[in-house]
């Protein structure tokens, strides 16, 4: 479970272009569920996601991961928490061009210094699960949108994180691929992963895998809708 208490994020603090992207957010995100942040453009969804995912530190407020305070950790330890806890799927996939699919999937594990053969077999297993093993050697710039996203999912899973975070995952996908993505989310949920997605795509927001919808506006939460209450 992730708990946020009075969390704010200010960009360009003290300068003329100061922006309050997130203001006084208090929220609990349950583990093992699918949570969606929705809201108009500029409402602070992505910013909130970076705070939850330990990509940035809140300017004010506290964030707890399973009861442990993570928001005031120095960057070094925040990274430690991030790489064992969170896997990311970005809107623009953010694969590294010029490297092969396999290398892209393995990259998050490099700083941990694992055994190469063990790492490679783990990566190949993931690619096989996502039906991409035949493209392992291919450079990522030649992949289609759907394939790119599946590589990004494989990369997010390589360190076996408990949480998967996806920012606007379907913005660049057609309906068929969006459905396929939802399918993958369902499978991940079945394996016990917790998932957080930002989206203003109704295909996602209204999907039946979603357990909770958090609605945002101007950096604040204006509504929380819980479904599939168990």
């Amino acid at each position: 479970m992730i708990e946020l208490k009075d969390v704010s994020k200010i960009y360009n603090e003290g300068r003329p272009n100061e922006v309050r992207a997130v203001t006084d957010v208090t929220l609990s995100i349950p583990a093992g569920r699918v949570t969606v942040f929705k809201g108009p453009s500029g409402s602070g969804k992505t910013t909130l996601l970076t705070l939850v995912g330990c990509l940035a530190r809140p300017t004010e407020g506290r964030i707890l991961l399973d009861g442990e305070l993570i928001s005031s950790l120095p960057e070094r330890f925040m990274t430690e928490v991030r790489r064992r806890t969170f896997g990311f799927v970005f809107q623009r996939f953010n694969l590294i061009r010029g490297l092969s699919v396999l290398e892209n999937v393995m990259i998050p594990a490099y700083p941990l210094g694992p055994d190469y053969r063990e790492l490679k077999s783990r990566a190949m297993d993931l690619l096989a699960r996502l039906k991409l093993d035949h493209k392992a050697k291919m450079k990522t710039e030649y992949l289609s949108g759907g394939e790119s996203q599946r590589v990004a999912i494989a990369r997010a899973l390589i360190n076996d994180p408990e949480w998967i975070i996806a920012d606007e995952p379907t913005a660049n996908l057609d309906s068929k691929l969006a459905l396929q993505f939802l399918d993958e989310v369902r499978q991940l949920k079945e394996t016990g992963k917790s998932i957080i997605i930002t989206s203003h795509d109704d295909r996602i927001v209204n999907a039946d895998v979603v357990d909770m919808v958090v609605e945002m506006e101007d950096g604040r939460i204006i509504g929380i809708e819980e479904r599939n209450a168990s």
Binding site: T46, L49, T50, L55, A56, E75, R76, T79, E80, R82, R83, F88, F90, Q91, R92, N94, L95, I96, R97, G98, L99, E103, I107, P108, A109, Y110, P111, L112, G113, P114, D115, Y116, R155, A156, N159, D167
Partner: protein
């Protein structure tokens, strides 16, 4: 430890791949870096090889030389001095030497004319014979004629049969040498039979006594100037270091320019590269991982540039006789250009070279590398 090693290996792999992915830019950097190292290494190698030559030549030189001074200027040493010096204990092989310089109007070169030492059996000469240095042989085209014609300072023509030409290899100082018999020498310079010697040379039985012997001679012959081989060596060492140093100092200007170039390259991260670093950080790399990777990058570029630059400089100096640099560093008579240097590279030179190239490069790239490494991971979300 195992993880640490594995991590370094992954970082190196990734770095090499990254270097290759941006071939154009990195090759450019490598090329300029190599060029800088090549020039500096050439200067250092060449300087030290010259110093080495000089030392080798001086090895055969007498340990102590005694000159006569009249009114503070060099004058012929009287013949009696030789007998007097023979009484100094610890000195041996005392010998008056005859040598001088001669300006050849025919081709504007300076020769060293010398009577070979009595102890130098190999170069013993009869009247009418000569042994000459290779440089001179080349200039005068002796190889075909077999005779050397010299116009003495007083205008008399002298014809000498060339007995031998001194080998060209590694004898910087012998290039302009003309050896002739004592009789010929006196006749050539029009000197009286008993006019004395240019200087008096001697060896010393025990090297530790040199100082004592010098003191004794100075007492016995108050007008004499006594020069030891160590003095000469020291002067040489100074002069060479100084020349080399001046060239190096000038080159450091080039080095600064290079550092600025490197800084520019390192800090001008392309948008794509920034994004790449953002991705790495977002997926779990830490600032120190990026720093380590970038340091590896700099280290590998330095290493390659160093190896290529040093190898090229080695070839340049020792295989191609420092064609590019020789005129600057030697700055001597026209007779010298053709000789081969004995390959001569030591740890100190390499260490010096590494210091003066790698330190500026590292200093110049450190801040840009750090700036890149602290890229916020959330940039990839935008």
């Amino acid at each position: 430890m195992r993880h640490w090693l594995a991590r370094q290996r992954y970082l190196v792999d990734f770095t090499l791949a990254a270097l290759l992915r941006r071939k154009g830019r990195n090759l450019m950097l490598l090329f300029i870096y190599t060029l800088v190292i090549f020039i500096l290494a050439s200067v250092i190698f060449f300087g030290s090889a010259l110093r080495h030559e000089a030392k080798a030549v001086l090895k055969g030189a007498p340990e102590v030389t005694v000159q006569n001074l009249v009114m503070g200027r060099h004058a012929m040493a009287p013949p009696e001095w030789v007998e007097k010096l023979k009484k100094v204990r610890g000195a041996r092989r005392i010998e008056g030497r005859l040598w001088g310089y001669f300006y050849d109007k025919a081709n504007g070169a300076n020769y060293t004319v010398m009577v070979p030492s009595r102890y130098d059996r190999k170069n013993a000469l009869k009247d009418g014979e000569t042994i000459i240095g290779a440089g001179l042989a080349r200039v005068r085209d002796v190889r075909r004629i077999g005779h050397l014609f010299l116009l003495s300072p007083k205008g008399k023509l002298m014809k000498l049969k060339v007995k031998r030409i001194l080998p060209e290899t590694s004898e910087l100082v012998s290039a302009d040498l003309v050896l002739m018999s004592r009789g010929d020498f006196l006749r050539f310079f029009d000197l009286p039979e008993n006019g004395g010697y240019t200087d008096i040379a001697m060896q010393v039985r025990n090297r530790n006594e040199v100082a004592k012997i010098v003191e004794k001679i100075s007492k016995m012959l108050p007008t004499a100037r006594v020069i030891t081989r160590e003095d000469v060596l020291r002067t040489y060492e100074n002069v060479f270091s100084w020349r080399e140093g001046v060239v190096l100092a000038m080159l450091s200007a080039a080095l600064v320019a290079f550092a600025i170039f490197a800084f520019d390259k390192a800090s001008g991260l392309s948008a794509e590269e920034r994004r790449e670093i953002g991705i790495l950080k977002a997926v779990g790399w830490e600032t120190s991982d990026i720093l380590a990777m970038k340091l590896w990058e700099g280290g590998l570029v330095s290493l390659f540039a160093f190896i290529f630059g040093v190898a090229a400089a080695y070839a340049h100096v020792f295989l191609f006789d420092a064609g590019v640099l020789a005129p600057v560093l030697k700055g001597w008579s026209v007779l010298y250009p053709q000789f081969s240097l004995t390959p001569q590279v030591d740890r100190l030179q390499l260490a010096t070279l590494a210091f003066v190239t790698v330190i500026p490069f590292t200093a110049a790239t450190l801040v840009p590398i750090w700036k890149a490494a602290i890229t916020d991971p959330d940039v990839v979300m935008r």
